[in-house]
Symmetry: C2
Subunit: 248 residues, 2 copies
C-alpha cells in the first residue's frame, strides 16, 4: 500500500501539472481541485447535516429511494433532460432496451434516444440546445408512461405545492422540473432534473440535480422553485414548468 507515497505529495502541490517518478519513467499527473461550486445561502445541500435532517423529517419522500438508486450525471452539458428521463424510467422499472456495454436491459443516456425520439427532436439538436418541456414530455411518452405537462405560467404557488407533494408521497409516479437555475441562485441557465422529496417544516423541495459535477442535490424553498418554473424558455417561447409522470 506504500508504493506511491512520494508521488502523492507532488500531486497535492498547487502546481498546474505535477511531475512524478514511477520506477524508471517520469509521468504527468492531473491537478486536483476542489469539487462542486459553492451554494448560495438560500439553498441547503442534501449532503450536509441540515440537508440530511430535512430528508429524515420528510413525510413526502416516496420517490427518493427509487430515484437516488438510479441517479446519474448528465453525460454532456445539454443532456440534463435525457439524464432525467433515463433516471425516471429506471426508477419506474419500465421495460428497457439493451445496454450493450453490459448485456442487460437498462436505460442509459445513450439508449434512451432512438429512431422514435429522433422524430421528435434530433439528438444532434439536443446536444446543442437541450430539451423544451414539451419535447421532454414527448420523449417520455415514446415509452409506456404518461407525462402530464404543467407550464409555470399556469400554476399558482398553491397548485404547484399541492400537486408536487401528492406526487412525492406516491411511489408510483414521478416529478421532473424544467427550471431556470439563476432564479434559485445557481449558475446559470435553463435546467432539467427530477424532484425527490418535500419537507413541510421548511417548505422546501429536494432537487436531484443531474449535473453532479457542478452542484449537490439541494433543498429549495417552494416559492423560489415555483418562480424558477415561471420563466421564459426562448426556444419554446413558453415558460418552463413541471412534468408529472406515471405508467400508462
Amino acid at each position: 500500500m506504500h508504493l506511491s507515497r512520494s508521488i502523492k505529495q507532488s500531486v497535492l502541490t498547487g502546481t498546474t501539472i505535477a511531475l512524478a517518478t514511477t520506477g524508471l519513467t517520469a509521468v504527468f499527473l492531473p491537478k486536483l481541485n476542489a469539487q462542486p461550486l459553492p451554494l448560495s445561502e438560500n439553498l441547503v445541500a442534501l449532503n450536509s447535516d441540515h440537508g440530511a435532517l430535512l430528508l429524515r423529517q420528510s413525510k413526502a419522500k416516496a420517490d427518493y429511494v427509487p430515484l437516488s438508486t438510479h441517479f446519474v450525471t448528465q453525460i454532456n452539458q445539454a443532456f440534463c433532460g435525457v439524464a432525467s428521463v433515463s433516471m425516471v424510467l429506471n426508477a419506474m422499472a419500465v421495460d428497457a432496451p439493451a445496454a450493450e456495454a453490459w448485456d442487460q436491459n437498462y436505460f442509459t443516456q445513450k439508449n434512451t434516444l432512438n429512431a422514435e425520439t429522433e422524430a421528435i427532436i434530433a439528438e444532434s439538436l439536443i446536444r446543442r440546445q437541450g430539451l423544451t418541456l414539451a419535447e421532454l414530455a414527448e420523449i417520455f411518452e415514446t415509452y409506456p408512461v404518461d407525462a402530464e405537462v404543467h407550464y409555470g405560467s399556469e400554476l399558482s404557488l398553491a397548485e404547484f405545492r399541492e400537486k408536487a407533494i401528492a406526487n412525492l408521497k406516491n411511489p408510483d409516479d414521478f416529478m421532473v422540473i424544467n427550471y431556470l437555475r439563476r432564479a434559485i441562485g445557481q449558475q446559470r441557465g435553463g435546467h432539467i432534473s427530477p424532484v425527490a422529496a418535500y419537507n413541510a417544516a421548511t417548505d422546501r423541495f429536494l432537487v436531484l440535480d443531474v449535473s453532479r459535477y457542478k452542484y449537490p442535490p439541494v433543498w429549495v424553498k417552494a416559492s423560489e422553485l415555483w418562480q424558477s418554473l415561471d420563466t421564459l424558455d426562448s426556444t419554446s417561447g413558453k415558460t418552463r414548468g413541471m412534468l408529472l409522470v406515471q405508467r400508462r
Copy 2:
C-alpha cells in the same frame, strides 16, 4: 404529446425488432425487456417496501446519503472497483481532477485512473480481470485517503460486524467490500461495491451494487456477507475482504 402514439404500440409487441413509421421513413426500434435479474429470497431489494423500511429504521446510515448522491453504474463489466473508488472519493469531496466533458472537477471512472494508478495496475489489465482487494487499496491511496485492508480470512463475524457498523455510523469514513456474488445468491463471480447502511433488527447490511443494470441495492444478512468476503480470489491467491477508507 400525441405524435407517436401509434409507434408506441409496435414497440411494445413481443417481436424482436419493432418496425415503426415516423412520417415518411420506416425505422427499427430496439426491443424493450424487463429490467434487473430476479433476487433470491435471502436478499431484500432497497427499492421495495421492506427495503425502504429497513433504511428508515437504520441507526447506522451516515454514509448512505453521500454515497447514493454519487452512485454510479460501472461502465464495463470489470470496472466495479473503479466505480466504487470514484463514488467514495466524490462522497468524501476529495479534491478531484478535471472531468473534461463538463469543465468541472469530479471523479469519474475515466479520470480516476491516471499514470500513477497505471504503475499499480494497467488499465488494460483492469479491463480484463478487475481489481484485487490490495490493488483497490493502492488505487485509493494514490489520493489523500487511507484504505485499511481487512481480508475475509482474518475477520471473525463479530469483528466484521463491529468494524462495519462503526464505519457506517461515522460520516467521515467509508466502507467498500470485495465479495463473491454467488455466496449471497447472486450471479456470479467476484465483485466490488460500497456498503451504505446497517439494520440492527434484521442484522443486514445494505450493499450499493454498482452494476445497477443487473441488481438493485440489496440488504444482505451479516453472516452471508461476511462469508462472501472469506472466499478465495484466484488472481491474488488471498481471500476477498473489506476496505475502511478515510481522509489522511
